[in-house]
Amino acid sequence: MKKKFLILLVLVLCSKLAAINNNLIISDSFPKKLSEFGFFLDDSAQTPHENVIPYDLISTLFSDYSYKQRWVYVPNNKKATYEENWVFNFPVGSALIKTFYYPVDDRNPELGKNLLETRLLLRKENGWEAVSYAWNDEQNEAYKKIAGKTINVSWTDFLGSDRDVRYRVPNVNQCKECHAAEDKITPIGPKARNINKKFDYDDGEFNQLAYWMSKQIINDYPKELVSPIDWMDEKQNINDRVRSYLDVNCGHCHSPTGNANSTGLYLHLDETRDVHLGLYKKPVATGRGSGGLKYSIVPGKPDESILLHRMISLDPGVMMPESGRALSHTEAVEMVREWILVMED
């Protein structure tokens, strides 16, 4: 009798532990520890709960060569609705989960990884809220960091070089710098066109939109979609690759509705006016960010172009983006250099 009771108790506890805490997602405050949400069955191993679905984007933001793993959670019996040219409209109680990490060695995933932070976007009654949890040294729990955190981390890159970075976990205000549209927090990634690619799930390889449909977390998606190109795909036209890169890395602020609209430099995909794209555009309130150069972009002359100068710089008073980068993105810098070099006047 006693034994039976104990087993029952363990079972009840286990099922409790394995449940996602829906109330915490919509609660007014954020819990101290990430594990309290129950998004992961095993937090250190990042093994998700069965209702927490991994996904990937076609073109992604550079974050100091860190790796990102993404998951989406939609409460049972609810669906996100498709929005044209925008992110899915997720129901209250949804969560977007993103863990940032560095592998010990880029060349060998077997050697393990260092988890840095897990960022959450939680869909509450009044809209989205953002928060980040930073992983402890033991890598078995992540703790809420309202004011952000500095993590000094090192790894070995694909060339076998030792790299290190002063990685910054963003504070809540910094989340909003990118994740804001008309002063409200919004997800950026999960637009239908951005996730229209295959993903290797535990139960096989499927198109992500089809998979989300089969899991009944979205109501619909268009069969014909113009998707952005992967800027790393060297088979593509260089102009398309650069515009795709600038769109995802700069366009959230540098657009007529973004945080940097006062600059008049617009780098989102829809911009077509030369001067607003930076061609022979003089700096406005750039200060020493100009590096003594006269224009954002001088066709044919990458080294006279402020845009490239600010992509290369590591000086906080000069570099772009303003936050989220402490290293130079060499591959992108080379691509943009080439783009400006072959650009016709």
Partner: protein, 408 residues
């Protein structure tokens, strides 16, 4: 006391009890404590930064409406960003109805205090400074409200900015008063803004004292309705140290007040003195632009009752085009007031509409010079005019700016 009265009283007390005071002291964890408090504070709260030295490795920011952040004096509560590793400014504000008061922001890597899209921002008794003197590696702006409304800068000090000490851009309803700007490239700059009063300030030892500018290709342009009065713009004698590419990089050392491409500007009761290039100039935007919505010429500029001390005695002909051109055309006799005379081509031929004309009411000994661009282009031997008569007339005073009942 009636029941209703008591209820109201209880309501008032309970509302007041919601407004908290949060106190921060200097110390090793001050950056995190302050940033966390700035995020977690609620409407109505006051955050007090006790006197002392606060050191930061990252920029800090505020995004909560209707709060006050206050120190214990601009020489007592010091936010020091000398060791800043990230963040494009020292302190960023993105919320409404905010009062910042009684502290200093030193040696930020980018701008010192930036305010974006705020409706109701009071900056009172603050200091922004780069402590190593004027250097091109200093941050661009000390005070930098942009795309904001109801902007008050009062009793502040701005020193050492490599662009402008006090810069208000693309904003509306602005008062800048009782402030001091020194050793910046531009002391005080109002750019692409509407409805500003700039008064009772001291701008000295900058490259240029007070700049009223309008630039093309921006969301808000057509700067207008700006009053500049009761200021001292004196001894602006610092060589231009702005990084090239920036518009202020073209301002010659020794500029008192300069108005570029704005409408309805009234400059009065100021003292301009010791400005070695020219005390007061009114000019057009001279670079090429294809912006069809941009008007590059100044209109309806009124200048009266100002005091002019020595000026133009050592023009900086090395910086930009303005001083050099003026120096050549005037044979070295630099005027107190200069207008470049540039108007649209049709007006060069048929004349400027009367209502758009520059108006002056100054003492007879105040010298003036303008150029007739048509004569200049056609190579006439004497394309200049120094007679003020054509430009005298009754002044139409502009309305004062009122913010929260504050006005001159």
């Amino acid at each position: 006391m009636s029941k209703a009265c008591i209820l109201v009283l209880i309501l008032i007390i309970s509302i007041q009890s919601y407004a908290k005071e949060i106190i921060i002291n200097p110390g090793e964890n001050a950056q995190e404590e302050l940033q966390e408090a700035l995020i977690l504070m609620s409407e109505g709260d006051t955050l007090i930064m006790r006197s002392g030295f606060y050191q930061f490795e990252d920029g800090i920011s505020l995004d909560v409406d209707n709060v006050t952040v206050i120190g214990e004096g601009m020489n007592e509560t010091i936010l020091d960003f000398k060791n800043q590793q990230s963040g494009a400014q020292g302190f960023l504000v993105t919320s409404n109805k905010v009062t910042l008061k009684d502290f200093a922001i030193l040696d930020a890597k980018g701008d010192a205090l930036k305010v974006i899209g705020s409706k109701g921002i009071n900056m009172i008794n603050l200091r922004t400074e780069w402590t190593g003197g004027p250097k091109s590696t200093n941050g661009a702006y000390g005070f930098y409200p942009v795309e904001s409304e109801d902007v008050l800068i009062d009793g502040c000090i701005a020193i050492g900015a490599s662009d402008a000490g006090i810069y208000v851009g693309q904003s509306k309803n602005i008062i800048v008063r009782n402030s001091i700007a020194q050793y910046n490239v531009a002391g005080i700059e109002i750019e692409n803004s509407y409805y500003a009063d700039v008064y009772n300030n001291l701008a000295s030892h900058n490259t240029g004292g007070i700049l009223i500018f309008d630039l093309p290709d921006l969301p808000q342009q057509g700067g207008h309705h700006i009053r500049v009065f009761d200021n001292k713009s004196i001894d602006n004698d610092t060589d231009n140290f702005a990084p090239e590419g920036n518009i202020v990089g073209e301002v010659p050392r020794g500029t008192g007040i300069i108005i570029m491409a704005n409408s309805d500007v009234e400059i009065f009761n100021n003292v301009m003195s010791g400005n070695a290039t020219v005390n007061l100039s009114v000019v057009s935007y001279s670079d090429k632009t294809d912006d069809p919505n941009y008007y590059p010429h100044p209109r309806r500029i009124q200048i009266h009752n100002n005091t002019y001390g020595p000026g133009g005695f050592d023009p900086d002909i090395e910086t930009g085009e303005l001083a050099k051109a003026l120096y050549e055309i005037s044979n070295g006799n630099m005027p107190d007031i200069f207008w470049d005379g540039v108007v649209p081509i049709s007006q060069m031929i048929f004349g400027q509409p009367n209502e758009d004309k520059l108006k002056m009411q100054e003492n007879s000994d105040v010298s003036f010079l303008t150029i007739s661009p048509l004569k200049y282009i056609l190579g006439f031997s004497n394309p200049i005019k120094t007679e003020k008569k054509e430009f005298t007339g009754a002044i139409n005073p502009l309305e004062p700016i009122v913010i929260n009942g504050i006005q001159q």
